[in-house]
């Protein structure tokens, strides 16, 4: 089992969700985060230009069984890109190992609980 964490742009959440549902990856947890990467922002406050800072992003966490990793990653890649070639700021995907997964309601464990 793996835990896939993707940091994406806010405006892509709906599309990513729709793509994931289409790929039958329905279970998901999302969080409001702020991040800083390559992306440069231009912000105006009564005319003042300020240094790039933390930009609002959305973090998506999906726990999957190993065989679903590629499908999920591909779907994320497709859904989260701006334009065909992507743009800086489109985000990052991290994959980490997951040792156990437990469904609270039933107590089921492991791959069937994901």
């Amino acid at each position: 089992m793996k835990l896939i964490t993707a940091i994406i742009q806010e405006d892509k959440l709906d599309e990513v969700r729709e793509a994931l549902i289409a790929a039958e990856v329905g279970r998901i947890t999302v969080t409001r985060v702020d991040g800083h990467g390559q992306q440069e922002t231009t912000e105006i406050y009564r005319g003042l230009v300020v240094i790039p800072n933390l930009i609002p992003k959305v973090e998506i966490k999906i726990a999957v069984n190993d065989e679903f990793v590629d499908l999920t990653v591909d779907t994320l890649l497709k859904g989260a890109r701006h334009g065909d070639d992507g743009k800086p700021g489109d985000g990052k995907i991290f994959i980490a190992p997951l040792e156990e997964c437990i469904r609270i309601s039933t107590g089921q464990r492991g791959t069937e609980a994901i």
Binding site: D11, K12, L54, P56
Partner: protein, 431 residues
């Protein structure tokens, strides 16, 4: 058909049109009436931020500022236009066969600097009070296409709409030589002029501009119902100025209008609460404030001419009608986002026509059916004129300047794509 009871506003205006008052012989200022009309002007102005809060709370987080700006922008755009030429078009004497009015003295409000009306208030006050109505009407429409229009297109649209739809309608119903006024249509505080016309415009706009991306499949939650409640509170308070101020006096008629306004708002809310309680076993706060609005809109045309128990019934029934109108919209599937037609349109239609059943003895023309017909006629004229002209304007603005937001901008949200700002910086860690 002549009738005894003319609406109060018009009576006040009778002498203002045509003859310019010379300083001598002009009426005295009544400080009390002036005080109340000044206050009413402030109260109606308060409705604009109230509306901004009401609407702003109902959209998604990414559109909160853009939606509030729809209300605020009307203060700037229509605020200036009204002073330049709106007042003249609405309350000047007939030109172009009565399409609208014009009085060169009213241009830039330059000829009324010292005019006192027969009601005992400086004409400026009347002009400003009426100006607030002109501001709020296009702002109401904005709810129909919330979350999906360009700001520039919107500003141009409301400017044109104000000039071509609102000012003529206002002239017809409230100017002493307006054709609906002459027929004896009762529209105390603007059911026909304001709410029916805004409702019709909303319906047309919602159909022409199409639904938001994802509607109705995707859930679109209100970002801040708490703010919507606050806004509803301010609207209720401001409506006292709206309706009771429309008496253009500070006396019995004013008191009657205020009383029925309060009663209809309360009964509208109670009725919606009970309906939801019956149907869903739950009472929502959004339902509550929708009921308040329904009651307030329904009483608006009727405020000077019905008795309290009539207001009770008008408000109760308004909520029921609006409730099912919205159900109907959900079935039909068009996206009148904040239910401008479903609430303002329906409740005002009901109020404008239904008021005939609850008239104070002596109010209205002598005959029940005569009045019923006049009311219906007024409502239909407003519906048709506003509907058709809105369609023309919207097509024009859309083709020439662009009205509907691009899909990418709609997804990003108006706050970011149109205003480069975020409503709730506190949600993020960089503020």
């Amino acid at each position: 058909m002549r009738q005894q009871k003319l609406t109060v506003i018009a009576a006040v205006l009778l002498c203002m049109v045509g003859v310019a008052h010379a300083a001598e012989g002009s009426p005295e200022v009544d400080t009390g009436t002036t005080a109340w009309m000044l206050t009413s002007t402030a109260l109606v102005l308060l409705m604009i931020p109230g509306l901004a809060m009401f609407y702003g709370g109902l959209v998604r987080t990414k559109n909160v500022l853009g939606t509030m700006m729809h209300s605020f922008a009307a203060m700037a755009v229509v605020g200036v236009l009204w002073m330049v030429c709106g007042y003249s078009m609405a309350f000047g004497p007939n030109i172009l066969g009565g399409w609208f009015g014009w009085n060169p003295d009213y241009f830039l409000l330059k000829g009324i600097d010292t005019t006192i009306t027969d009601a005992g208030i400086p004409e400026y006050v009347f002009a400003m009070f009426q100006g607030k109505f002109a501001i709020i009407t296009p702002a109401l429409i904005a709810g129909a296409f919330a979350e999906r229009v360009k700001f520039r297109g919107y500003c141009i649209f409301i400017a044109l709409w104000s000039l071509i739809v609102y000012n003529p309608l206002c002239h017809w119903v409230w100017a002493s030589d307006g054709f609906l006024f002459e027929k004896g249509a009762i529209d105390f505080a603007g059911g026909t002029v304001i709410h029916i016309s805004a409702g019709a415009a909303a319906l047309v706009a919602a159909f022409y501009l199409g639904p938001r991306r994802g509607y109705p499949k995707t859930a679109m939650h209100p970002n801040n119902l708490v703010m919507t409640l606050m806004g509803a509170g301010l609207l209720w308070v401001g409506w006292f100025g709206f309706n009771a101020g429309s008496s253009v006096e500070s006396g019995l008629k004013t008191a009657q209008a205020l009383t029925v306004t309060q009663v209809a708002a309360a009964s509208g809310a109670l009725s919606w609460m009970m309906l939801e309680g019956l149907l869903h076993k739950k009472v929502t706060t959004l339902g509550f404030v929708s009921g308040v609005l329904a009651g307030l809109v329904a009483i608006t045309p009727a405020a000077g001419d019905v008795l309290p128990w009539g207001a009770l019934v008008l408000g109760m029934v308004a909520s029921v009608l609006c409730y099912f109108a919205i159900e109907m919209k959900n079935k039909l599937g068009y996206d009148d986002t904040l239910d401008v037609f479903g609430i303002h349109g329906i409740a005002a239609l009901w109020g404008a026509i239904g008021l005939v059943f609850f008239l104070r003895p002596g109010a209205g023309s002598g005959s029940f059916f005569g009045q019923l017909w006049v009311q219906t006629e007024g409502a239909l004229v407003s519906l048709a004129y506003s509907g058709i002209m809105t369609f023309v304007l919207i097509v024009f603005v859309d083709k020439v300047f662009g009205f509907r937001l691009s899909e990418a901008d709609e997804k990003a949200g108006m706050d970011h794509s149109l205003h480069s700002e975020r409503g709730f910086g506190m949600l993020n860690l960089n503020s």
